[in-house]
């Protein structure tokens, strides 16, 4: 018996001593939770190089975009430390911030230069920060730019026709009123001579994220989400006029526009079915580089229309999305994680990633916009990058306070009710304001007010403030 116990003790000791040695021999591994392919392609492209340079392995966990928030939040609240790097949207930063590690001290400790001065200011100063602390690093410069079909706008015959019909010069719309006018002009006739009638414009109006197509109208008309006292400003004159503008444009859009999401809108633009439309920046790359595109060399780029305030036109294009990377506080490999973030967002690496259409990741560094390599990717790439750079300067941010998803879903739902003709714009937006008050009360008015003012201060610093329409 004693002999048996002795043997067991010896074996146990050997196991205990050899296990850490065996573990030490294994390279460190980090788990990166990212938006599924195409975004995950960005990691796969450089996984081997990272492992070679840093001796750190990468385990990629791909997540459907709709499931990212719930999966990551569940892990955070349970404190599992399942992920070392997480990809998330700026709209969630208030909810996420208490679970995330501030990046700058960690980068400094590890000698990682994030080169944040090179990141477009709207991402760097509003989206990456919460309460003045940097919790994230952008890795997808998601924003909406305006696309137009040059066959429609640059034909002298059509310019003359437009002048005859409206008494105005045909140009890419700069204001939302001009947008409706030109949308009407190009609807219902075959302006590209492909044997089929085309539509004037198209928008993402399917329930889910269609509020982004309302917000840049609303913001250019002087609107912001709340005032300093947390009173909703969504049902002000700016809101009603913005929604009315959407309703006015609707008859000139494709028949099924009310159920058009990302795919349908992309298809409408790259198939040449519409004269113009606001979309994410990856569609610009697809229009010229994707095999299925029927508009290669025909797409022009512009700033999303704005609103005329006296002699000046104010543009507030939506910074819609803007995926970024952060490190959870409960990660056991924070040092390795910051090295990964530093590496994958490095100017040369991120340039290669954002240039590649298979990643659907868009440029966000000033050096990306200025890159000669990127500018020569297709004949008009320079104009494309210029449109993105200007948009990033004027961009309007998403609501970032806790409960943002619920506030926005309520807005989304009521906007679709108004577009479907079930409610007037004022009725729909009054219902939104009422619901927003209810959500604020439920989540704690004082806490919400404090959070909103944090975001509003950052917006004010970027020159975005409530401006009532006369």
């Amino acid at each position: 018996m004693t002999k048996k116990i002795l043997v067991m003790l010896v074996v146990l000791t050997l196991v205990l001593v050899s296990a850490p040695m065996a573990l030490a021999a294994e390279p460190e591994e980090i788990t990166v939770a990212v938006h599924a392919v195409p975004h995950a392609n960005g990691v796969y492209m450089f996984r081997d190089q990272f492992e070679k340079e840093f001796g750190i392995k990468i385990n990629v966990v791909e997540m459907a975009p709709e499931a990212i928030f719930e999966k990551q939040m569940t892990e955070f609240t349970a404190g599992t430390g399942a992920y070392d790097v997480v990809q998330f949207m700026p709209a969630w930063i208030a909810d996420y911030s208490r679970y995330l590690e501030p990046l700058e001290p960690l980068a400094e400790k590890n000698g990682v230069d994030l080169q944040r001065d090179d990141v477009a200011p709207a991402f760097r100063d509003i989206y990456n920060k919460w309460g003045g602390v940097t919790y994230a690093m952008t890795w997808d410069g998601d924003l909406n730019i305006f696309y137009y079909n040059r066959l429609a706008f640059e034909n002298p015959e059509y310019q003359e026709k437009y002048m005859k019909e409206t008494g105005k010069e045909l140009r890419v719309p700069r204001t939302w009123d001009e947008y409706v006018e030109t949308c009407k002009f190009f609807a219902g006739w075959d302006w590209d001579n492909d044997g089929q009638n085309e539509f004037g414009c198209d928008e993402y109006l399917q329930r889910g994220r269609m509020y982004w197509w309302f917000l840049d109208r609303f913001a250019s008309m002087g609107g912001v989400y709340f005032d300093e006292e947390m009173k909703p400003l969504i049902n002000t004159k700016a809101g009603v006029m913005a929604l009315q503008n959407m309703i006015d444009a609707l008859p000139y859009m494709p028949t099924g526009a009310l159920n058009h999401g990302y795919t349908e809108l992309r298809l409408a633009i790259i198939n040449g079915d519409v004269a113009m439309g606001k979309q994410w920046t990856d569609v610009g790359k697809a229009a010229d580089l994707a095999e299925e595109s029927k508009v290669k060399g025909l797409i022009g780029y512009a700033l999303v229309p704005g609103w005329k305030w006296g002699d000046k036109i104010v543009h507030r294009p939506m910074l819609a999305g803007g995926w970024q990377l952060g490190i959870p506080k409960d990660s056991k490999h924070k040092d390795a994680a910051i090295k990964f973030i530093g590496f994958i967002t490095r100017p040369d690496i991120s340039l290669a990633i954002t240039k590649d259409p298979s990643t659907a990741l868009d440029p966000y560094r000033i050096s990306h916009f200025q890159s000669a390599e990127f500018q020569s990717l297709w004949p008009t790439a320079k104009n494309y990058l210029a449109a993105i750079m200007v948009t990033a300067q004027y961009g309007f941010p998403e609501l970032q306070i806790p409960g943002a998803a619920e506030y926005m879903d309520t807005l989304d739902l009521e906007l679709t009710e108004a577009l479907a003709g079930n409610k007037s714009p004022q009725e729909a937006l009054d219902a939104v304001a009422e619901k927003w008050e209810e959500i604020t009360d439920r989540l704690g008015r004082d806490a919400q007010k404090e959070m909103w003012n944090k975001q509003y201060d950052a917006m004010k610093a970027a020159g975005i403030q409530y401006q009532p329409l006369p």
Partner: protein
């Protein structure tokens, strides 16, 4: 030690002085043996019990507890007891809860009715003398094997107003013959709900066919022959003989599908996202939004329990009705 000695025994006897310890060992052995036997007997059941508790009973108890709290993942304190407040809000204050429930019932009743009628018709066709029955049965079963997400994506493409084989072709005909304005099924509040029904019918009619065909094939032939001998026509044989004998299969098929359709989520979510407006927002979509988008786990769980109660009540009414009719 004294306690172990029998009262009438001689305390000085050597034999008796050792007996207490002998008695005590034997009792321990007996207990040990009994415990071992009990463990041996239960060891076969314990793993299943633990699994059942972990997989079914614990989540039920846990979710019931969550539904009695304001369990919001955004809050610092997760477990804030609220009693029946979540249930009260859903039942008496939340119009969207009732709206989405009503939409679910509309989709459910329409889809299950069509599936049943089509399923019965096709099952009767396959029951008769038909060449290639096996081939057709296998072919008809294919949609059931497709994931609902994939079916929804297929129909979303087929219902595209320009490129879709259904809606696009209809619009082409409308334009070609000048029959009126083009339309988009998925973008129209009146039609979108029928798109969900159509997709559900395409996917789940085969299940009805299979259950009803199995019911038909297991029917005894004697009553049918007796009816024929008695001069009953085809319709009379079907209505008075076959249908009553099929009642149990019909009941099983309807109940299964109805319970399933009450939980429908993926089809409308992919097809229309619940829109336009709220036209196709089912109760499961609304519960999902509350739970996973708004992180109101307590409220979402309470609504799930209300849906469970509704399902149980409807099923019970259904079962009782059928059982009573059978006994009559």
């Amino acid at each position: 030690m004294q306690g172990f000695v029998p009262v009438n025994a001689d305390p000085t006897s050597e034999e008796l002085t050792v007996r207490p310890s002998a008695v005590s060992i034997s009792s321990a052995q007996r207990h040990h043996g009994a415990l071992w036997r009990w463990l041996e007997q239960k060891s076969l059941v314990i793993p299943v019990t633990v699994l059942l508790f972990g997989v079914t009973i614990f989540p039920l108890i846990y979710s019931l507890a969550v539904s009695l709290h304001i369990y919001d993942l955004r809050q610092e304190v997760l477990w804030k007891f609220s009693g029946l407040e979540n249930y009260r809000i859903a039942l008496f204050e939340d119009a969207r809860f009732w709206g989405s429930l009503f939409t679910t019932l509309r989709i459910g009743v329409a889809a299950v009715t069509i599936e049943f009628l089509l399923g019965l018709g096709i099952a009767l066709l396959l029951y008769g003398p038909i060449i290639g029955r096996r081939f057709f049965t296998t072919l008809l079963a294919l949609p059931v094997m497709v994931s609902p997400v994939v079916s929804a994506l297929i129909f979303r493409m087929m219902l595209h107003e320009k490129y879709g084989v259904i809606n696009g072709t209809l619009n082409m005909i409308i334009t070609h013959f000048g029959l009126g304005k083009e339309f988009a099924i998925l973008a129209d509040q009146r039609w979108a709900i029928w798109a969900v029904v159509l997709t559900d019918v395409w996917q789940w009619t085969p299940l009805m066919i299979m259950i009803l065909l199995a019911g038909l094939q297991s029917m005894p032939l004697e009553p049918l022959e007796a009816a024929r001998v008695d001069g009953a026509g085809r319709w009379q044989t079907f209505w008075y003989v076959m249908l009553p004998m099929l009642r149990l299969a019909i009941f099983a098929a309807l109940l299964l599908r109805f319970i399933d359709v009450l939980k429908t989520f993926d089809l409308p979510f992919i097809l229309t996202g619940g829109g336009p407006g709220r036209a196709t927002e089912t109760i499961s979509i609304y519960i999902y939004l509350n739970g996973f988008r708004y992180l109101r786990m307590g409220y979402a769980t309470a609504m799930s329990y209300l849906l469970l109660v509704l399902t149980v009540v409807l099923s019970t009414i259904f079962i009782r009705n059928v059982v009573q009719r059978r006994s009559v």
